[in-house]
């Protein structure tokens, strides 16, 4: 509710339909995601491991009573070294009525981009799954990869959701 409300209010103020993105670092690369899906940012804490989960699912964490899965995007996107120290950051996302935490190397900035600033990715020659890509943008002479976080979180390859046919799997 409040999310759509603030969105509406903002679009009234900004005629250019500018959107804000939270940019973060994975290895050497700059990524960004829609700031409206960010719930909070916190330091990395040890998690409880889940059996038979893919390696990028680190486990689950207690977020004030909610048991929340933690995904390491560095492992998922195969960028950087998955190290865990006091500087490792977890971005808690609120996507599709679920809370999911993603592990990143650092959070850099909040950037404002208009739709014109966001360029489509090249049609071929990029191994990165374009399904999860909202687009690319040039900010301060560096490329920022804008992730479509909703489709990423709900994607089958991330296997965060029970899909109907594998629900009964034991």
């Amino acid at each position: 509710m409040s999310e759509t409300l603030t969105k509406n209010m903002r679009s009234e103020h900004d005629v250019h339909h500018d959107r804000e993105f939270l940019s973060f670092v994975l290895g050497e690369e700059q990524y960004a995601l829609d700031i409206m899906s960010v719930k909070e940012i916190r330091g990395y804490e040890p998690v409880t491991k889940i059996a038979n989960a893919p390696p990028f699912i680190k486990g689950v964490l207690n977020l004030r009573g909610d048991i929340v899965p933690i995904v390491d995007l560095r492992i998922k996107f195969d960028v950087g070294e998955p190290t865990y120290n006091e500087f490792t950051i977890v971005i808690m996302l609120n996507v599709l009525d679920r809370i999911v935490g993603i592990v990143v190397d650092a959070v850099s900035d909040v950037i404002t981009l208009s739709e014109d600033d966001i360029k489509p990715p090249p049609e071929f020659g990029v191994a990165f799954d374009t399904k999860f890509l909202h687009g690319l943008a040039e900010v301060n002479d560096a490329m920022v990869i804008i992730v479509n976080i909703e489709s990423l979180i709900s994607s089958e390859s991330l296997a965060l959701f029970d899909t109907s046919n594998q629900g009964g799997q034991e």
Partner: protein, 631 residues
């Protein structure tokens, strides 16, 4: 504004549903030969309340039907209409119809006007058939027209009484002999009271004891319930929220407890006292909140008299249903999940269990079969039993059917093994597929449903003497008594109900079979399952002699679960993993420990499955190897 009306709709739907259930129960209890006037009045009031509400909200589909129903009931309670089983059946059908219309309104689906018209016609027909000869029929119709006005304007009340009294005395003279003398006294009393200008409230009491005139009954009934009712209607989501918050509180409290006991300061003693107090208060609060979710199991049981009656009629069998322990309380969430399996089992008992009356008599049994539904609390579990005195399970038929369907039949299996075959998917021994049972989708679904709520089902049966299905489910889904165990650096919770004992085995108790370790204890061999292996834990103890083995009994198998050490027994709040993640194989859920960490609650049933699967896999591999050798 529209939201507000929606809210009222919801209340109306809930109330109407209750009224309909109430009506159904009362109708079931009525003896057509000598109907109890108080129940007739209650049924009338229920119909009337639905009619009133539907009028206000414009649910015309309900209004029409309830109006005709009201007419019929009103005549019945004035003795103008003789009740027959047919009429009661018709009324029961009408409640069914009303329920489906209500559901349609609730879900916003279109209303089937044809059905309603048909229902109204059928009801009117029953009225006309029996009431045509009665001289008063038309007269009382006028009365109904008048009553409607009465309900709307309080002012007319006194006129109504006057008018009604006359009618009533007419009725009395022409009514059949069934009007007994105490009723007459009742009317006599009542006639006096309005003239004395007594308040409606005092009328209520008289009305409750005596036979009330219809015009007053509905308004009076509403007032009296508002006085008597000690319960309030609360949205379940609010209660659930409360349960969740209490869960948080319990966790915070145990975190404080851990912190407080390590704190060394002058104020330690005071802190300790406060913490102990806090612990007691949270526990009491938790119990109180949990009890809000508890409902008597009669919520499930009460639907069965109707089901049994209908089914018995259809199958031309005579069945008596006994209900024992209906007041046993159980979590609301479980109640909903018990309805389907229980319905299935009761249907099965009537269809397959109870024999036809002549067969029963030939076997020296009473013509009417008996089905007993019972519920009782045993420790942290509720045990529900469905037993009948019918034919019992037929061992030969089950075995025959099992081999027909290609199920693996255990050689020299015990009775229990054979009974368990009926839970296999696609199994049914019914001679013919009826609309009641026999499609064979039933029993495996029953077992799966019950296991999904952490319960188990057992069968005992003697051929010729009937069978008994015993279901045991946990009292609540929100909290579990668990044993906290460590495996590597992680903590797991094993539900206490499944644990027989925990032992530290010595070498003499360990046996080896094809490199697999077995534990020899309690006069049997136990397979050993390593929790660390199952849960992907690296740094756990490897040798069984250094570990602790928890002997586990699940509904399917017994096995030893190998863990590093026991940490202690604790009540834990079950948290869903599915809310933000998904079902995790081997986990029944998760909980938050005193230090704030998440611990996985072990699902012993699915671990037992794993053992079976592993063995089955190994066997098929071996068989393949054997075949290769043979070739």
């Amino acid at each position: 504004m529209s939201i507000d009306v929606e809210q009222f709709h919801q209340v109306f739907f809930d109330e109407s549903e209750e009224h309909l259930e109430n009506m159904e129960q009362l109708l079931m209890a009525i003896d057509p030969a000598s109907p109890d006037s108080e129940s007739l009045n209650s049924i009338f009031r229920a119909a009337h309340s639905i009619k009133g509400g539907s009028g206000i909200f414009g649910f015309s589909g309900l209004g029409g039907l309830t109006h005709v129903m009201e007419n019929l009931l009103d005549k019945a309670r004035h003795g103008e209409q003789l009740l027959t089983t047919d009429i009661i059946n018709q009324l029961l059908h009408t409640t069914d119809l009303l329920k489906s219309i209500l559901d349609n309104y609730r879900s916003g689906e279109p209303i089937n006007q044809d059905e309603i018209d048909k229902g109204i016609l059928a009801l009117e027909k029953t009225i006309n058939e029996d009431g045509a000869s009665s001289m008063i029929a038309e007269g009382s119709d006028e009365t109904f027209g008048f009553f409607d006005d009465v309900e709307q304007s309080e002012k007319m009340d006194s006129d109504a009484f006057g008018f009604f009294d006359e009618e009533e005395s007419n009725d009395e003279t022409s009514a059949d002999d069934k009007q007994s003398s105490p009723d007459d006294i009742g009317f006599g009393l009542f006639d006096e009271e309005p003239s004395e200008k007594e308040t409606v409230a005092t009328n209520t009491e008289t009305v409750k004891e005596r036979k009330p005139p219809s015009a007053v009954a509905p308004t009076v009934a509403k007032k009296s319930t508002s006085v008597e009712s000690k319960s309030i209607r609360v949205d379940t989501s609010k209660v659930d929220l409360l349960v969740n918050l209490i869960g948080e509180l319990v966790i915070t409290q145990s975190m404080l407890m851990v912190q407080g006991s390590s704190e060394a300061s002058d104020s330690q003693e005071k802190l300790q006292t406060g913490l102990v107090e806090l612990e007691r208060n949270t526990r009491e609060l938790q119990e109180a909140v949990m009890s809000m979710r508890m409902l008597p199991i009669s919520f499930v049981f009460n639907r069965f008299p109707r089901l049994v009656r209908d089914l018995a009629d259809k199958l031309e069998k005579q069945v008596e249903l006994n209900i024992v322990g209906g007041s046993t309380e159980i979590d609301k969430g479980l109640i909903e999940k018990l309805v389907d399996p229980l319905t299935h089992l009761v249907r099965n008992s009537i269809d397959h269990g109870i024999e036809l009356p002549d067969i029963r008599e030939r076997q020296g049994k009473t013509a009417a079969g008996a089905i007993t539904l019972s519920a009782a609390q045993r420790g942290g579990n509720i045990v529900i039993e469905i037993s009948d005195d019918g034919a019992g399970l037929n061992k030969e038929k089950i075995l025959e059917k099992a081999s027909e369907n290609g199920l693996s039949v255990p050689a020299n299996g015990t009775d229990e093994d054979i009974w368990n075959l009926i839970f296999a998917p696609g199994f049914s021994t019914a001679q013919s597929v009826t609309d009641i049972s026999g499609r064979g989708v039933g029993m495996d679904v029953v077992r799966r449903n019950i296991e999904s709520i952490g319960g188990r089902i057992n069968i005992t049966s003697t051929q010729g003497n009937g069978s008994c299905f015993s279901i045991s489910v946990p009292l609540t889904l929100a909290i579990v008594d668990g044993m906290c165990v460590a495996s590597g650096d992680q903590v797991f919770v094993v539900p206490l109900v499944a644990i027989i004992e925990s032992i530290q085995p010595d070498n003499q108790q360990l046996r080896s079979i094809g490199n697999e370790k077995l534990l020899w204890v309690r006069d049997r061999y136990w397979p050993i399952l390593n929790l660390a292996k199952r849960m992907d834990i690296d740094n756990a103890v490897q040798s069984p002699t250094d570990a602790i083995i928890i002997l586990i009994e699940s509904s399917k198998k017994r096995f030893g679960l190998m863990v590093d050490k026991l940490l202690g027994q604790q009540q834990v709040v079950i948290k869903s993993l599915e809310q933000h993640y998904k079902r995790v194989p081997g986990a029944a859920g998760a909980t938050i420990m005193g230090d704030g960490h998440v611990a996985i609650i072990v699902d012993v049933e699915s671990l037992a499955d794993d053992i079976n699967e592993e063995i089955a896999e190994k066997q098929t591999n071996e068989r393949n190897v054997d075949q290769k050798h043979a070739v």
